[in-house]
């Protein structure tokens, strides 16, 4: 996802890819830091990821929902891409990558579906009814295509293009608001599901979108704001996401890297 070009000359190239991210653990729930990082798990799962990536977080949420142990491997994307990442995802060279028994699965939503299918005895994120599954895929795809891209334009651009991005973001939030309606989760009867897992990682980004776009999610899409709060309290989500402040700071780092004011 974050195919940042490595510009920093201060970080050593990441050959050993297994290290936790020191300065970012402080606001995570202590018992849920990636302590699994050091155990080789019995489910033989390894996740190549980047701490703040919403796409990686979808997979972390799914793994947590399913109580699947796994080895978490931080790819220091700002320093460069490891050999293992490049070999596991030669086509896109992006995280997240799930390795199961050494075999790679790429693309966050594809990984989540894979986990449903490879571990059928765990709680599933997609419902079982084909029509409900189609609706879930449609909306997860909508989130996938729209949110990150539009959000990026909000903080990257100025003037008219930024205003356009802002208008689009409001449209996206309102559309999702209509879809959510009065449901507790996007998954409806199924409960917390595929679309919830797809969209939840963007909730810490709301604060940044609000700052750059000068709007309030609670005003534009109050049901989405309420859902964000609800979903943020869910254990699998809480332990996978970082605070809005951390995300905001990270955007600042990206802007510096891209030479954007």
């Amino acid at each position: 996802m974050l195919s940042c070009s490595p510009t920093s000359t201060h970080h050593p190239h990441s050959t050993s890819s297994q290290h936790s991210h020191p300065q970012t653990q402080t606001d995570r729930h202590p018992s849920n830091a990636p302590t699994m990082a050091s155990e080789k798990s019995s489910s033989d799962l390894t996740l190549l990821d980047f701490w703040v990536s919403p796409f990686g977080q979808r997979v972390r949420i799914a793994l947590a929902e399913k109580s699947l142990p796994y080895e978490y491997v931080e790819e220091d994307l700002l320093a460069g891409k490891s050999e293992r990442l490049l070999q596991s995802n030669p086509v896109h060279k992006k995280i997240p990558v799930l390795l199961h028994g050494g075999k790679p699965v790429n693309e966050s939503l594809i990984i989540v579906q894979y986990l449903d299918e490879a571990f059928p005895d765990t709680p599933s994120l997609l419902p079982s009814d084909p029509y409900a599954r189609a609706q879930a895929r449609f909306w997860a795809d909508y989130v996938d295509k729209k949110v990150y891209d539009c959000g990026s334009r909000l903080w990257k651009l100025k003037g008219e293009p930024q205003a356009q991005a802002r208008a689009e973001m409001l449209e996206i939030l309102k559309t999702l608001e209509t879809e959510l309606g009065d449901k507790e989760f996007f998954g409806g009867e199924h409960g917390f599901g595929f679309v919830d897992a797809a969209f939840a990682p963007f909730t810490p980004w709301f604060m940044s979108y609000e700052k750059y776009g000068e709007f309030k999610v609670a005003e534009v899409a109050p049901k989405i704001a309420a859902w964000a709060e609800r979903v943020g309290k869910r254990e699998s989500v809480a332990k996978s996401l970082y605070s809005p402040d951390k995300v905001y700071d990270f955007i600042g780092v990206l802007k510096k890297m891209y030479g954007i004011e």
Binding site: I110, A118, Y131, R133, A134, Y142
Partner: protein
């Protein structure tokens, strides 16, 4: 077709995304009512069935709408699991790989080919063409891996990726005809070139694919319209 299953496809004959759905329905042996939409004057049914995108294809199954071509294709495979061949393997890893390549077709091939057509500058367009051929090289490798020596991305029989890429064939063939450059080049991408021939011969493909000459005429008309619009805009400056 199972009793009481009413299938209606809202589509437009030139759309590669609509062709994908037709391919899937035909491969599964499912009959459906084809509704041709005038995209310049969208029907109430289309707009109410797909309020978010207002695009074709939309499949209505007993009146309930499903949107987005690859979502529809997977729906057809799952809702009619007992009918005709499966478009996906039962193995979770193979399914993940198929979904990956089906998505790749959209992310890389469609995007670059659209750029080669609609790029704002000649430079843009040729960059699109370059990326399109790079994507085809990658898909050649994917076909080698996925087919395991058989004829399709799905192995012995057609699967999700065959449908995803197959939908584009008529456009790509028409483009070949118009530009005089082979897109499925038997020298550069021999497996893909053979695959394209093989797919075209299938009954399901013959039902789904628009006529090549009609396709060429359509694209030429579109290009003329785009050129006229560009000229008009330039003369207004």
């Amino acid at each position: 077709m199972a009793g009481g299953d009413d299938l209606k496809l809202l589509g437009a004959w030139p759309s590669p995304f609509v062709v994908r759905v037709k391919l899937a329905l035909s491969f599964k042996g499912l009959s459906f009512e084809n509704v041709e939409e005038d995209l310049g004057n969208k029907s109430e049914l289309l707009v109410s069935s797909n309020p978010v995108q207002k695009k074709v294809p939309v499949l209505l199954h007993n009146g309930k709408p499903i949107c987005e071509s690859m979502v529809i294709v997977q729906y057809i495979d799952e809702a009619f699991a007992g009918t005709g061949p499966s478009l996906l393997s039962s193995d979770p890893h193979e399914r993940a790989v198929a979904r990956f390549w089906a998505a790749y077709v959209d992310d890389k091939l469609v995007t670059s080919w659209v750029q080669s057509f609609r790029g704002k500058t000649e430079e843009d367009k040729s960059e699109g063409t370059k990326q399109m051929f790079a994507a085809l090289q990658t898909l050649e490798g994917a076909l080698r891996e996925c087919s395991k020596g058989e004829g399709y991305f799905g192995g012995e029989s057609v699967g999700l990726v065959d449908v995803s890429l197959g939908g584009l064939l008529s456009w790509l063939n028409a483009t070949e005809e118009m530009s005089g450059t082979k897109i499925f080049d038997p020298v550069k991408t021999p497996l893909l070139a053979a695959w394209a021939e093989r797919l075209r011969e299938l009954d399901g493909a013959k039902l789904a694919f628009p006529d090549k000459d009609r396709m060429v005429e359509f694209i030429q008309k579109r290009q003329a319209q785009a050129a006229a619009a560009a000229a008009a805009a330039a003369s207004e400056k």
